[in-house]
């Protein structure tokens, strides 16, 4: 009985201690209460009611209690001025009391402890977006359309500055300040968010008219119109328009998307149904569940953001066996790409609440990328064929990706040949089909890409009066020549090696005899394909008849892949 009495005593005492401790942590030591006490103690002026606070947004099914600790961000509260945690929310496009917090920031709105609310706990798959990637939160609802490639965006930004727009306007915290001498400055509105309402189509005309009026002495503002505004050529206006359209109050986010549209990521990755199939679909990569993520190859903190950044630094280290090449990106580029990846998080929301851009992207066929040739090339082709069409070689053991900007190639390749190749791809090789059903590009977009390709080589296609098929050479002679001169690179069976596979039905179907003939005769400058028409120190020149024999021999492979 003594043992039982002891057990009873100590169990009861233990239970009592635990219960008292639990009661204290639930009440006095509650984190949100401590936060509010801290604010109340440091708050000059009116007293602070210490209470649990929440923003309820029925439409978004959000009940966000974040403001129980971030008390300065609660409607009607001031908090501690300039304090990032307890101060007011910086001015942003959306009003926090209308949108709540989690719609943009992620995390667990109903939680009232720091770790739970920020989502850094087991079983909570959507932690908060880390502070330096906050603007990724826009991607929860928005899908930004017609974003140009990085270079186009950069051109627009430079022009904007060159034309001295910053003299009057303020954008992302720059410009619109006092002019030298102290007089004037900041006459124009802040246009950091002009993209959200749409750039007015007539801004140039209005500016120009005002300038003329000012010159005529009309009271429209006087001096600035005359000294700070001049005529702008139409193509420059277009670039400036594109830049302004990207100003949506989320600095960095559209730059990130522009970078995504310059590195050719969509060549392998689908996003929103458009892109290649070699890599995983990226449409929801921003909502990756950290609990289901393999962090073994990741150095540093175990967050999805760091996982992504580490993955860009060295894909194979983070994902063993990954096919993705190390792209040799700079740290700022990695930072931008990580931001963009985190923004790919379209949350499930009732369609009635979708912003216009998302409706257009998902329902009305709106494009996320600008549809000029340069952006399309940057978005889909640049990763493999190089930013300037110079070709790429990631894996020394594999054949390089063709240099499609090569002038020798562009001189002999017809537009139909290029369109055909892009649309149907090269079955059996890495080049995927980009037609609407496969890669998701529309015919007019493919024509834009081809037009852009022409500008890369700087040459036009030489006119070809001959029919598509005209070679009538000697097959046996062609076979002997192939074995002697071609097989070392293209393989004895024509199945490829260092050079590309010629025994390819799609290639042989779309290539004309002239194309094959001229390619052999001229070779490809800057590649290992020599000009067989002129020969080289190790290769005697072939006569036109011999080249025709070769072409005739190649044709025998048609239909026998």
């Amino acid at each position: 009985m003594q043992a039982n009495k002891h057990l009873l005593l100590w169990s009861s005492a233990g239970s009592l201690v635990v219960l008292v401790w639990a009661a204290l942590t639930e009440t006095i030591f509650a984190e949100w209460r401590q936060s509010q006490v801290h604010v109340a103690e440091n708050l000059a002026g009116q007293p602070l009611d210490i209470q649990l606070r929440q923003i309820v947004v029925k439409e978004l099914d959000a009940t966000d209690r974040c403001i129980s600790c971030h008390v300065g961000m609660a409607p009607g509260e001031t908090g501690l001025p300039h304090d990032p945690v307890y101060g007011r929310h910086p001015a942003v496009v959306h009003e926090a009391s209308e949108m709540g917090c989690t719609a943009c920031h992620g995390g667990q709105g109903r939680a009232t402890t720091r770790d739970d609310a920020h989502g850094n706990v087991a079983h909570w798959p959507e932690p908060m977006i880390p502070p330096r990637y906050f603007y990724a939160g826009c991607g929860s609802c928005h899908t930004h359309l017609e974003v140009p490639s990085q270079s186009s965006l950069e051109v627009g930004r430079r022009l904007f500055e060159q034309y001295d727009c910053l003299a009057c306007h303020r954008i992302d915290g720059r410009g619109g300040t006092l002019r030298p001498g102290g007089a004037g400055g900041g006459e124009g509105p802040d246009i950091s968010r002009i993209g959200t309402r749409g750039v007015p189509a007539d801004w140039y005309d209005v500016h120009l008219r005002n300038r003329q009026l000012a010159a005529a002495g009309q009271p429209v503002g006087g001096l600035p119109w005359q000294v700070c505004f001049g005529e702008i050529p139409a193509d420059h206006r277009g670039a400036i328009d594109a830049y302004l359209q990207s100003r949506i109050g989320a600095p960095g986010l559209l730059e990130a998307k522009a970078l995504f549209h310059s590195l050719g990521c969509r060549g392998c990755h689908k996003e929103n149904g458009v892109g290649g199939d070699d890599g995983p679909d990226l449409s929801f990569v921003g909502t990756k569940d950290p609990g289901q993520t393999d962090f073994r190859g990741v150095r540093g903190e175990k967050t999805v953001a760091n996982w992504l950044a580490e993955h860009f630094r060295d894909p194979a280290r983070v994902v063993p066996g990954s096919q993705m090449p190390a792209l040799g990106l700079t740290e700022p580029q990695i930072e931008l790409l990580t931001l963009y990846m985190l923004s790919l998080r379209r949350t499930a929301a009732p369609e009635a609440l979708w912003p216009r851009d998302r409706v257009r992207a998902l329902r009305l066929g709106g494009r996320e990328f600008a549809r000029d040739g340069a952006t399309l090339y940057g978005t889909f082709c640049a990763a493999c064929h190089g930013p300037a069409g110079e070709g790429r070689r990631y894996d020394p053991a594999a054949a390089p990706f063709p240099a499609i900007g090569n002038p020798d190639f562009l001189a002999v390749a017809s537009d139909e040949f290029l369109v055909d190749t892009v649309t149907h791809g090269r079955p059996g090789r890495r080049m995927p089909a980009w037609g609407e059903k496969e890669g998701g590009l529309r015919p007019d977009e493919i024509r834009e890409v081809v037009a852009f390709l022409r500008t890369l080589g700087g040459v036009r296609q030489e006119p070809d009066p001959k029919p598509r098929r005209w070679a009538k050479g000697d097959v046996a002679a062609g076979q002997r020549l192939f074995a002697a001169s071609c097989a070392s690179c293209h393989g004895p069976e024509g199945r490829g090696g260092e050079g590309l596979a010629l025994r390819n039905p799609a290639l042989l179907a779309s290539a004309t005899d002239t194309y094959l003939f001229e390619t052999i005769r001229r070779g490809r400058r800057g590649t290992t394909m020599v000009a067989f028409g002129t020969g080289s120190p190790t290769q005697r020149a072939l006569s036109p008849q011999e080249i025709e024999d070769l072409v005739t021999f190649l044709r025998t492979w048609e239909g026998k892949p």
Partner: protein
């Protein structure tokens, strides 16, 4: 009665009133316990049988029953954790709303806003888990001490009913938070309920006869887990199953009392050490008759004619023991709840399956078998096991070893050997299934009926069966066979549960650790 004046004392009415007022606390206690202070043997007896809650106990308790090693308090731990779940559960019901999505939000509110709600929910969850563990260990204790034997056969069968009711209570509670964990665990459970369809499909008679589909429909009230399922599970969890459990528990306890208390070995008096110094009087006379039914009909109750009884008054000996174990249970619940939170994932989403979707831990051993054959793993083998367990007392009619740990032919050595055999068998079968796959992989066109008959679960059952038959022959004892079989099944249950819990990842593939789960 101290020096206070009694009511017969004279004096002015106001004085008497003041005296009565002063006496209230003492009088209140006296009226609450009819026999007054239990300071004599008679008073202690009165204390028990005059009290509606205590009179389920015998007035005197055998000293053997009070030894810690007799029961390890496992039944009391189970009852205690059940009472804790009842109290915390009722409190949770104030805030819980059984409707999809709203349910999830109300759990979030309980967790984050309701004062102490988070703590209460943790306690509820931990108590439920302790109850499941307690029930399983209690069953093992009763089995290994051969306490199911005459006259306790029927009570063992009641216990076999209490086991699935306890698991059912825990399982129905699993859905209520309406998070991903809950939703997909219950989806798995419902598919197991549907698994007889595997057999009817293989026979091609599902169109005419579909008990599996009906079972799932009854459970979910729909084809998939939704609002109908939630309200059903809620009702089962808070009303039907607790009532069934209370009813069965009442019978269970009544029978413990009527079957003569806890089982003891025949030579119990030799085995007991001398009583502690401060023990209340030990009873040593064999009663010639008892004053219950024996007084009105020609019969004997279990108490008649037993040799010197070696009993002590239940008040206070038994009640201290029970109170101690009860408080220990509460201490365990609150301590675990302080440090380990009940899980809550994101809101249930029927479009995004959890991968892996896992049932509650106590079903993961079965889920491990379900991966091969839903019917055998989910219904066939559990039914065979439960039925086999329920029949044990009717098959083992031996006398040797009752009331002793691992009592009976073979003893502890046989149990150890059987556990080793059971362990080896389950490890080999699992290793083969994990390393080389099973019939489906070896012979892609294999008929489903063959897989139902021949899968790791049935192979294991047959291996264990063969062992037990061999043991029966070897020791010439049914009890030995039962010991062997039980030890085997225990080893199998533990290994399968461990594998299912910690070594299964997405698509139920084998992984040494969750950090190896593919994340790309």
């Amino acid at each position: 009665m101290s020096g206070l004046p009694t009511e017969t004392d004279g004096g002015p009415a106001l004085g008497r009133f003041a005296d009565n007022l002063k006496r209230i606390p003492r009088r209140f206690l006296e009226t609450m316990f009819r026999g007054g202070r239990p300071d004599s043997d008679r008073g202690r007896s009165n204390f028990v049988f005059q009290n509606v809650f205590l009179h389920l106990h015998s007035v005197r308790t055998h000293r053997w029953s009070l030894k810690w090693s007799t029961t390890w308090g496992l039944g009391m731990i189970t009852l205690g954790s059940f009472l804790v779940t009842v109290v915390t559960g009722v409190l949770l019901m104030f805030y819980y709303k059984p409707y999809p999505d709203v349910a999830y939000q109300s759990i979030k509110d309980i967790h984050f806003v309701v004062p102490t709600g988070h703590f209460l929910r943790n306690i509820h969850r931990w108590a439920a888990n302790i109850m499941v563990v307690g029930v399983l260990l209690h069953m093992a204790r009763v089995f290994f001490t051969a306490s199911y034997r005459k006259p306790r056969e029927f009570n063992w069968v009641i216990g076999m009913l209490l086991l699935p009711v306890t698991l059912g209570l825990s399982f129905t509670g699993y859905l209520l938070p309406w998070d991903q964990l809950a939703y997909w665990a219950i989806t798995i459970g419902a598919n197991i309920a549907q698994s007889p369809r595997e057999v009817t499909d293989a026979l091609g008679i599902t169109q005419q006869f579909d008990p599996g589909g009906l079972q799932k429909l009854i459970l979910l009230g729909s084809d998939e887990v939704g609002e109908e399922a939630l309200i059903r599970f809620y009702l089962l969890h808070v009303l039907i199953l607790p009532l069934v459990l209370c009813f069965l528990v009442a019978v269970h306890f009544w029978r413990v009392r009527k079957d003569g208390g806890l089982a003891r070995p025949a030579d119990v008096d030799v085995r007991l050490p001398p009583p502690e110094r401060r023990t209340f009087p030990v009873f040593t006379e064999a009663p010639a008759k008892t004053y219950s039914l024996a007084a009105v009909v020609k019969s004997r109750t279990p108490a008649v004619g037993n040799p010197p009884e070696n009993t002590v008054p239940s008040m206070p000996h038994l009640f201290y023991a029970e109170a101690a174990v009860f408080m220990l249970t509460i201490f365990l619940c609150v301590l675990l709840s302080l440090f380990i939170d009940a899980p809550l994932k994101e809101i249930a989403n029927p479009l995004v399956p959890e991968n892996p979707a896992k049932a509650p831990w106590y079903f993961l051993g079965l889920q491990e078998l379900v991966a091969h054959s839903a019917f055998m793993g989910g219904i066939g083998i559990p039914m065979i096991t439960l039925l086999g367990l329920a029949l044990i007392p009717y098959l083992d009619r031996e006398k040797a070893g009752t009331g002793l740990w691992f009592g009976g032919s073979g003893g502890g050595r046989l149990v150890a050997m059987s556990a080793a055999y059971g362990l080896a068998a389950v490890l080999v079968v699992e290793a083969v299934a994990i390393r080389f796959g099973w019939l489906q992989q070896w012979w892609p066109g294999c008929p489903q009926l063959l897989i139902i008959l021949l899968n790791p679960g049935t192979v294991l059952t047959v291996l264990y069966g063969i062992w037990s038959v061999w043991v029966v022959k070897r020791f010439d004892s049914t009890r030995a066979g039962a010991l062997g079989l039980f030890a085997c099944f225990m080893a199998g249950f533990i290994v399968l549960t461990v594998v299912g819990t910690w070594f299964r990842g997405p698509n139920w593939e084998f992984y040494w650790s969750p950090s190896q789960w593919p994340g790309h």
